[in-house]
């Protein structure tokens, strides 16, 4: 059967056979790259000749027989295929003395001539490039003298083989009447071939893929497993192919094999200069080798140095000795390092296992830096881990590598990062270096408990107190001090000491260096926990520190992370929110996985305290579900957010979920307090009030003992008030409420005061109650705590309505809007006396920034003219903006605007509240 897509070639051969039958002999050469199907054509020709009743002489040259003179000619003539005569040795080599070449040539031709007198003869020699030189000369001699014979000489020649370049081979081709060059199979051909192998149909897509991976070369199409349609062609086993390719390459001059190896190690297409350096060859040799490889069909034609088919690259790789490959990978790394491509160099190094010395460590470090810049932390880790193989086992260089590794791992594997930073410590030579290695890890105890505090302490002791140091040493001392003080936040004595330190810094603490800012943030944190620093100062100083911190996600566990609690405690989170948004952008741009988690955790907290309950819940739930349980700080914070949101949103199952994700054992007080809060809230959400009372009371006793007194952070008293009230212990509730109010007033933060007042209003009733509620609303109105405001207004509205006061409606409507904005539908329902929902309620109105600005100014009571002046636009423009805003908000006019716009803080509206 004619091989696929070889019809024209077969026709040509058939034609030559016909002409020979008519007395015009000719030489036909089939040449082409490896695996293109030359032998198949020869077989087909032999079949054709036999079918036509011709005689055939056939031989196949082999590299092993190259040194065997006249081997091919002997193959052709012994035994002489005459049917009527017994096989006998060819007369060619009979006789005593070896014949002269001329005599031999003549006799060989005469033999063919004699044979062809009876019937046409096909002389077929496969792989003639490997024929021994005398045989080749014989064939060439015959080839040039075929004219009057009834014979066809058909030879196949492997392009690019060194044998094909011998003058005799070239001569043979020159004497040919026709030179056939079979082409690679088309997709259709490949598909047909595959279908034949499988015995079933093959879909077009698969065939195309198959064709692409094999370049349509029949050998490859046959050598690879036919595989299922969805198999990954990149993983086809190529062992057999490696065998074939390797054998072919070994037969070529050294430069060809060396070049092929180099190409197989490098990415495709390869840089010629790099190939030269890998193969250890000069330009001329590589050019020659490339030419040969192209002719052999291993490399694709064109300007690029690329393999014809992807599998060939794997086949060549497979044919290499392991040691060679290792050596080449190292050479590639060196060469790429030399041309500055550190990442590619590092990729090659990573593929090896032999320690390669200091330069390799340098390459890998540089590559890790580059990878980090590109946001590819996993690669950076791979590089640095490999680099550890190249460095000394216990020198300072290893210490630095470990520290580098830790720095890189911070982005996605905190546990390892902390471990490696600590492993680096004993190897680093100077105290400053040890300190800076320690300071790589988060300031915030993100993994719960402060790991190995004694190490921090000892390095800090080595450096001495910051005040006596300068420069970097002072900087490091400050950072270590910050860590130590943060670790001492549960010890009342240390908290008191921290306050002393804070006061000693003066009214304007220095904030010029990261260390100074870190310490200040920690001291403020202590001040916020204990309530020793008043909220105004907390907010002012906290924001000043924050204004000096570039919004990088990686800082979320450093100074800005520490500041979060402080600013939440002081109810001043506007700047923090913006910082976190900017940090998110940065984290996404650089793919910093863990820092983003830290940022999101804080965003959830900020969303919670500004009354964006749904957003807080979603952020926290998403984070807690994704995160590694080792990140205790994230888990517990998110759990707190979830529990608080669960209570306010009345979604008890949320609290249970949060609790289930939380660590059961509390390692320190902060965690203990958090778990207390959590359990209490969960119990509330579940309606198990007396259990909740137990939890909150425990919590209260605990934090009181340490001296943590912030009402925003530790609202245990107010929770108890609510619980006791609901349990009917009114007196107890009232007493606690008094205490709570006093404490809140002492703390001076609006949220807790308003909350205590609201609870008092709920407890006392009557005029005094209404007064308390009005006070609560007044206190809460400018605060960011929208949840409390909504509750206070709702309660005030109901009380006023009961008292028959007309102001009730306004309060209830406002309460309803607030509650909806916060996501507290239950509260909105309770304030249901207000008019029905309007379009635009409870969702973010899609206003442009200018429209928003105009609406704000209108709500604040400005006239269009004023607004136009302020915005530097025409009055007409203001009208246009307003009209558009009316339409978007679904209101009919100015008067309805105030009600239609979500309250400030709820979704990024920035105006100061006018309500209340």
């Amino acid at each position: 059967m004619t091989p696929f897509e070889r019809e024209s070639e077969v026709d040509l051969i058939a034609d030559a056979l016909r002409r020979a039958g008519a007395g015009a002999g000719s030489l036909v050469v089939v040449r082409g790259p490896m695996g293109i199907g030359r032998s198949a054509l020869l077989h087909r020709a032999l079949a054709l000749a036999t079918e036509a009743g011709g005689a055939v002489l056939r031989a196949r040259a082999a590299p092993a027989e190259r040194g065997f003179d006249h081997g091919v000619v002997r193959q052709l003539l012994e035994p002489v295929p005459r049917v009527d005569v017994e096989p006998h040795p060819s007369p060619l080599f009979a006789g005593e003395a070896p014949p002269t070449p001329h005599e031999l040539f003549h006799r060989f031709r005469a033999e063919v001539r004699d044979l062809s007198r009876e019937r046409p003869v096909l002389v077929a020699v496969d792989d003639v490039q490997w024929a021994d030189p005398p045989s080749l000369a014989c064939l060439a001699y015959l080839g040039r003298r075929l004219g009057p014979l009834r014979a066809v000489l058909l030879v196949s020649l492997l392009d690019g083989d060194r044998g094909a370049e011998l003058p005799a081979a070239i001569d043979l081709v020159r004497a040919a009447r026709a030179v056939l060059r079979p082409k690679p199979l088309s997709t259709a051909g490949a598909r047909a071939l595959l279908a034949g192998r499988r015995g079933g149909p093959v879909d077009e897509q698969h065939a195309r893929e198959w064709r692409r991976h094999t370049g349509g070369i029949p050998l490859l199409l046959h050598a690879l497993p036919s595989g299922p349609d969805d198999g990954d062609p990149g993983s086809w086993p190529v062992a057999d192919l490696s065998e074939v390719v390797g054998r072919c390459l070994r037969l070529q001059p050294g430069r060809v094999g060396a070049t092929a190896d180099a190409l197989a190690v490098l990415d495709s297409p390869a840089d010629p200069d790099l190939v030269r350096r890998l193969a250890g060859l000069d330009e001329v040799d590589v050019a020659e080798a490339v030419r040969a490889l192209r002719a052999l069909g291993l490399l694709a034609p064109g300007a690029d140095l690329a393999f014809t088919a992807p599998v060939l690259r794997r086949a060549v790789r497979g044919a290499m000795a392991a040691a060679t490959r290792e050596e080449l990978e190292l050479r590639a790394a060196r060469a790429l390092y030399g041309s500055g491509e550190v990442e590619r160099a590092a990729d090659h190094l990573v593929a090896t296992t032999t320690p390669a010395g200091e330069w390799a460590a340098n390459v890998l470090r540089a590559a890790a830096t580059t990878a980090m810049v590109g946001g590819d932390a996993p690669s950076a880790v791979r590089y640095l881990r490999r680099a550890l193989l190249d460095g000394s086992p216990d020198g300072p260089d290893r210490g630095r590598l470990l520290a580098d590794l830790a720095a890189v791992e911070l982005d996605h594997d905190l546990v390892s990062a902390v471990r490696h930073a600590h492993q680096a410590l004993p190897l680093l030579p100077s105290a400053v270096e040890r300190a800076s290695a320690l300071c790589l890890t988060p300031v915030v105890p993100a993994l719960g408990g402060t790991p190995r505090l004694e190490e921090v302490r000892s390095v800090a002791a080595e450096l001495g107190p910051a005040d006596r140091l300068t420069g970097l040493e002072r900087e490091m001392a400050l950072k270590l001090e910050a860590r130590l003080r943060l670790a001492g936040q549960e010890d009342p004595a240390q908290l008191a000491d921290a306050h002393e330190r804070f006061l000693a810094l003066g009214p304007r603490p220095p904030l010029d260096s990261p260390g100074e800012r870190e310490l200040c943030a920690v001291l403020l944190h202590a001040g916020a926990l204990t309530g020793r620093v008043e909220p105004g100062a907390l907010a002012e100083l906290g924001n000043r520190v924050l204004a000096r911190e570039p919004a990088a996600a990686s800082r979320a566990w450093a100074t800005p992370g520490v500041l979060t609690t402080t600013l939440v405690a002081a109810e001043s989170v506007g700047e923090l929110g913006r910082w976190l948004d900017a940090a998110t952008e940065d984290g996404l741009a650089h793919r910093r996985v863990l820092p983003l988690v830290a940022v999101r955790t804080r965003q959830a907290l900020v969303a919670l305290v500004t009354g964006r309950l749904v957003e807080a819940r979603d952020l926290a739930r998403r984070t807690i579900a994704e995160v590694d349980p080792a990140l205790v700080e994230v888990i517990s914070t998110c759990a707190v957010v979830l529990c608080a949101a669960a209570v306010e949103l009345r979604e008890p199952e949320l609290a249970r979920y949060a609790l289930s994700r939380c660590p059961t054992r509390a390692e320190n007080s902060r965690l203990a307090s958090l778990t207390g809060l959590l359990r209490g809230s969960a119990a509330v959400a579940a309606g198990d009030l007396s259990v909740a009372v137990e939890h909150f009371a425990d919590l209260g006793r605990h934090v009181d003992r340490i001296g943590w007194r912030n009402g925003v952070l530790f609202p245990w008293r107010s929770r108890l008030v609510t619980l006791h009230a609901r349990l009917g212990n009114t007196e107890l509730a009232r007493g606690l409420n008094e205490e709570d109010l006093a404490e809140a007033r002492r703390g001076g933060v609006a949220g807790p005061i308003g909350r205590a007042l609201r609870q008092r209003g709920a407890l006392v009733g009557g005029r005094a109650g209404i007064t308390a509620l009005k006070d609560a609303v007044d206190v809460l109105a400018p605060s960011t705590n929208r949840v409390e405001l909504a509750k206070a207004r709702a309660l005030l509205g109901r009380r006023l309505r009961e008292a028959g006061d007309d102001a009730a409606t306004a309060h209830l409507r406002e309460a309803r809007h607030l509650a909806l904005a916060c996501g507290m539908t239950w509260l909105a329902d309770r304030a249901g006396a207000a008019p029905g929902p309007r379009p635009g309620d409870g969702r973010r109105a899609d206003l442009t920034s200018t429209e928003r600005r105009v609406v704000e100014l209108v709500i604040d009571g400005h006239r269009n003219k004023d607004i136009a002046d302020r915005l530097g636009v025409g009055a007409r423009a203001v009208e246009k903006h307003l009209t558009s805003a009316y339409r978007k908000l679904g209101v009919r006019g100015r008067s309805e605007l105030a009600g239609a716009v979500p309250p400030p803080g709820a979704d990024g509206w920035s105006r100061g509240s006018r309500a209340g």
Binding site: D282, D285, R291, P301, D512
Partner: protein, 920 residues
């Protein structure tokens, strides 16, 4: 298969004369007239096709034909050619052919007689292709037959090329037509030559049976050089082998041709060809003969033989090898011999005073020669080529020089030179080399090289890397104290420019001393002081010290650039400009393109401050050229983008600014001052577009990054005031006031007129009524003393606008006139437009009371006004309008009167007021 050129039956192209002759000869033969034809030409020029054509003609006329092709493999085969002609000869002839015992003296006459006998029986055409390859015996026979052909109706048609004696190229050649007595009637020489483009096009058209693919003909002409055999191979290859470009096919075909020729080259010629291939373009032919071992062969003859066989050609006194021959002859050598030949050629070239680049080029192919001259030649050659960026010759020469055995110190110098060359388009490679220089102990007295390396690294903005390495270096105990101090200074400078970077492990680097004498350290200290914005006088003093030794060629560049930046902040723009110009000169002299780019970027900023937008623009564009676009450091990308945004804004082209701001930033850009700068520029852009909240988010981040680095200087990037203004526009006056107050405090601390003036200007813009007026008046006063003319113009305009709003047209007009003069020169687009607009409004308001309304003027007078305002002298105007000076003067007098002014200056001022001064 399509018929190829010269394939049997196809008419040959551009062989009309030869075909005509062959036709005549064959026709003559058919009628019994003998002939001898010799087709002579270089390999591949279509000799075989001519022969085939003749055979065809002969067969058509019933003439008997025998043919043979002499082949390289049969050159030792006795009577090989004849046996092709008579494959089945038996008896006596067969015996003569095959038996070595029969001596030539009897075999040749016998064979001749046999052929003549055949010819007598009927006309016979004997064709022998490639007769020059024939074995010696056949050669004898051929020549003998040629001499006897006229005795029968025999035509002998032979193709040859110049003979290449197998051995002993001095052996005499045996000519085909030995003497003048040769019968001109029977003996003919046909010459075959390459196709010209027209002929080639005809072949290709015929091959395609119509129009070939576009562009193919010129491609083929270039690839094949008109060689018909190569062309045929290429055309066939295009058909049969997918995806192989014509050039490759041609090279392959040509290679085979050359290979066939080379196989028969004598050792002497081969040696010469090798020498030619290696150094033909460098060494004169005479010297090449020295390089090659020619033995007794005269060089001129050897050269001629190479030429005749298409292996080389002469070009003046040079012998240039054909590309394919070069490749093939070199490929056939073993690598060691090749390298050795290159080395010998390089040395010869060096001795014969060849150009450095040529010597260097030869050295590229040689193994290390271990001689001083080699390194020197490579360095000089690299120096000469350093304006060619990238992986061009310069980098290759230097890399080659590094392979020579040199001292560590010398190696360090070479590495720095190479890094400087690579800085343009392989900067990462360059950086790694610099790291190596910095971390290697190159011994005493080599501090300068290491410092140059550090300088180079910083100038490229690779501050993160510099910080890492310099930290280690400045802590090295073996370095001299002065070097360590400067390294530490550079470390702190790098540290200062790492904006928003990650935390890394820091080594113990000594601090900068408060007082320094060393100019490099002074420059760095000046910048650190200026950026912090505390003590302007100290910063100025240090910066001057840093720039003082400006003429010194070996000084570091980065300290000078930052000193100039410090002077920009201390309002000493002129000095800063001089310093930058000096630095630029030094950088250009040393060929440090990245330093040129850095200095130009700073100068562009300086021009922007001075309000000279065009100059800034020019510097920015030059900087772009110096930094290769695809290899810029991320920091530089951000910086350039920021600068561009501000430039377009100055020109009032917001769209262009928007697109500049949207430039995609490479990874790593965010960890640089460039990014901070870009955020500021973007904030400004958004502010100008009225997106105050977005502007604030940019300005805030800009502020965080500056403050995080203690860059408190209020002039550096006035983000705070702009943010305050944005807050004002959003109605958040408290926030704005806080920022304004901070700004004021910092400005007073810094104390330069620009700082004070700027804070007044912003404050004035952000307030109303008397506060605004007072602030703006202060700003105008302060900025008048400042070199920041751009800001001064702004202040003038704002104050004028304030006056205009308050109804004081007179004061407004006076200020506007000043402002108009400034903006007219400085091409500040937005401001000029505003000034014109306000002038127009003022004009409309005061028209009734102003004396100098735009008067009715004659056409000539109007033209004269126009030209005068453009700055032409009376004489020039007269010239331009082809009138007399007197006439111009008369007109002008009338014009002055009409406008109520007394001279040109006033006229210009009034016209500016009227918005009638055209843009320059």
């Amino acid at each position: 298969m399509r018929p190829g050129p010269g394939a049997p039956g196809g008419a040959l192209v551009q062989r009309e004369a030869e075909l005509g002759l062959l036709d005549r000869l064959v026709r003559g033969l058919a009628e019994g007239r003998p002939a001898v034809g010799l087709v002579h030409g270089r390999p591949g020029t279509g000799r075989t096709s001519l022969l085939a054509h003749a055979e065809e003609l002969a067969r058509e006329r019933g003439v008997g034909v025998v043919r043979a092709t002499a082949s390289p493999t049969e050159t030792d085969l006795r009577f090989g050619v004849v046996s092709q002609l008579l494959p089945d000869a038996g008896a006596e002839v067969g015996e003569a052919l095959r038996s070595p015992e029969v001596p030539d003296e009897s075999a040749v006459p016998l064979l001749c007689g046999h052929f003549l006998g055949l010819g007598r029986r009927g006309p016979l055409l004997v064709v022998v292709d490639d007769a020059h390859l024939a074995d010696r015996h056949s050669g004898l026979w051929l020549r003998a037959l040629a001499r006897r052909a006229h005795r029968a109706s025999l035509m002998l048609l032979v193709s040859t090329t110049s003979t290449l004696p197998q051995s002993g190229a001095d052996a005499p050649e045996d000519p085909w037509f030995p003497d003048a007595s040769t019968d001109p009637g029977t003996h003919h020489v046909l010459r075959s030559a390459p196709l010209d483009e027209d002929g080639l096009a005809r072949v290709v058209w015929r091959w395609y049976g119509g129009e070939p693919p576009a562009g193919l003909v010129p491609d083929l002409a270039a690839a094949t050089g008109g060689n018909p055999a190569v062309l045929r191979a290429v055309l066939a290859g295009l058909d049969e082998r997918d995806g192989v470009p014509p050039a490759d096919l041609a090279a392959e075909a040509r290679r085979d041709q050359v290979g066939a020729v080379l196989a028969h080259l004598s050792p002497e010629l081969l040696s010469l060809l090798r020498a030619v291939a290696v150094a033909g373009r460098v060494l004169p032919a005479g010297v090449l003969a020295v390089l090659a071992d020619l033995g007794r062969v005269p060089p001129s003859r050897a050269a001629r033989l190479l030429r005749d066989n298409g292996l080389a050609h002469e070009d003046g006194d040079r012998l240039v090898a054909d590309d394919a021959a070069t490749q093939r002859v070199l490929a056939d050598m073993c690598p060691e011999d090749r390298a050795e030949l290159h080395a010998r050629a390089a040395e010869l070239a060096h001795r014969s005073l060849a150009a450095d680049e040529d010597v260097a080029g030869l050295l590229l192919g040689a193994a290390p020669v271990g001689a001083c001259w080699a390194v020197d030649a490579l360095r000089r050659a690299a120096g000469a080529r350093d304006r060619v960026p990238g992986d061009g010759p310069a980098a290759r020469f230097l890399r080659r020089a590094l392979r020579e055995p040199v001292s560590e110190a010398r190696r360090a110098e070479l590495l720095v030179e190479l890094a400087a060359v690579e800085a343009v388009d392989q900067p990462e490679a360059g950086d790694l080399r610099l790291v190596r220089v910095l971390l290697t102990d190159t011994g005493p007295g080599t501090a300068a090289v290491r410092l140059a390396a550090a300088d180079l690294m910083l100038v490229r903005s690779a501050v993160e890397l510099a910080r890492q390495v310099l930290g280690v270096v400045s802590a090295r105990p073996d370095a001299e104290p002065a070097e360590r101090a400067t390294m530490a200074g550079l470390y702190w400078l790098a540290d200062d420019h790492c904006h928003g970077g990650r935390d890394v492990v820091v080594p113990a680097v000594p601090e900068l001393p408060p007082e320094v004498r060393d100019p490099d350290l002074a420059g760095i200290s000046a910048w650190l002081a200026a950026a912090r914005g505390v003590d302007a006088r100290r910063a100025r003093r240090l910066a001057r010290l840093g720039l003082r030794a400006g003429g010194d060629g070996d000084r570091l560049l980065v300290p000078r650039i930052v000193a100039a930046r410090a002077l920009m902040l201390t309002d000493d723009l002129d000095e800063a400009l001089v310093g930058l110009d000096d630095t630029l000169d030094a950088a250009r002299r040393r060929g440090l393109r990245s330093a040129v780019g850095a200095a130009l970027t700073v100068r562009a900023q300086l021009h922007l401050v001075r309000g000279r937008v065009d100059e800034a623009d020019e510097d920015l564009n030059c900087a772009r050229v110096e930094y290769a676009p695809h290899r810029r450091h991320p920091a530089a990308v951000a910086m350039l983008a920021g600068l561009e945004v501000l430039l377009w804004l100055s020109r009032g082209l917001v769209d262009r600014a928007e697109s500049a701001a949207a430039t995609a930033m490479p990874p790593g850009a965010s960890q640089s001052f460039g990014w901070t700068y870009l955020r500021f520029a973007r904030g400004t852009l958004r502010f100008c577009a009225g997106n105050y909240e977005e502007a604030l988010s940019d300005l805030r981040e800009c502020g965080r990054r500056l403050l995080g680095r203690n860059w408190h200087n209020p002039v550096l990037l006035p983000w705070r005031s702009l943010a305050a203004l944005a807050h004002t526009r959003c109605g958040r006056t408290r926030e704005a006031d806080r920022l304004f107050a901070e700004d004021r405090e910092l400005a007073e601390r810094w104390g330069t007129p620009t700082a004070l003036g700027l804070t007044g200007l912003w404050r004035g813009c952000g307030s109303t009524g008397e506060t605004a007026r007072a602030a703006l008046a202060d700003a105008v006063r302060d900025l008048r003393a400042s070199p920041a003319r751009g800001w001064y113009a702004h202040a003038l305009y704002e104050l004028a606008a304030h006056h205009a709003a308050e109804g004081d047209g007179q004061a407004a007009a006076a200020l506007l006139a000043d402002c108009g003069r400034l903006t007219a020169v400085r091409t500040d687009g937005i401001l000029r437009r505003r000034v014109q607009e306000l002038t127009g409004r003022l004009w409309a308001a005061r028209r009734p009371v102003v004396v100098g309304t735009w008067p009715e003027l004659s056409e000539t007078a109007e033209r004269i006004v126009e030209l005068v305002v453009r700055g032409m002298s009376t004489a020039q105007v007269a010239d331009a309008l082809s009138v007399s000076r007197r006439s111009v003067e008369l007109h002008l007098t009338a014009v002055y009167r009409a406008f109520g002014v007394t001279g040109r200056a006033q006229l210009r001022a009034v016209l500016t007021d009227l918005g009638g001064v055209p843009a320059p």
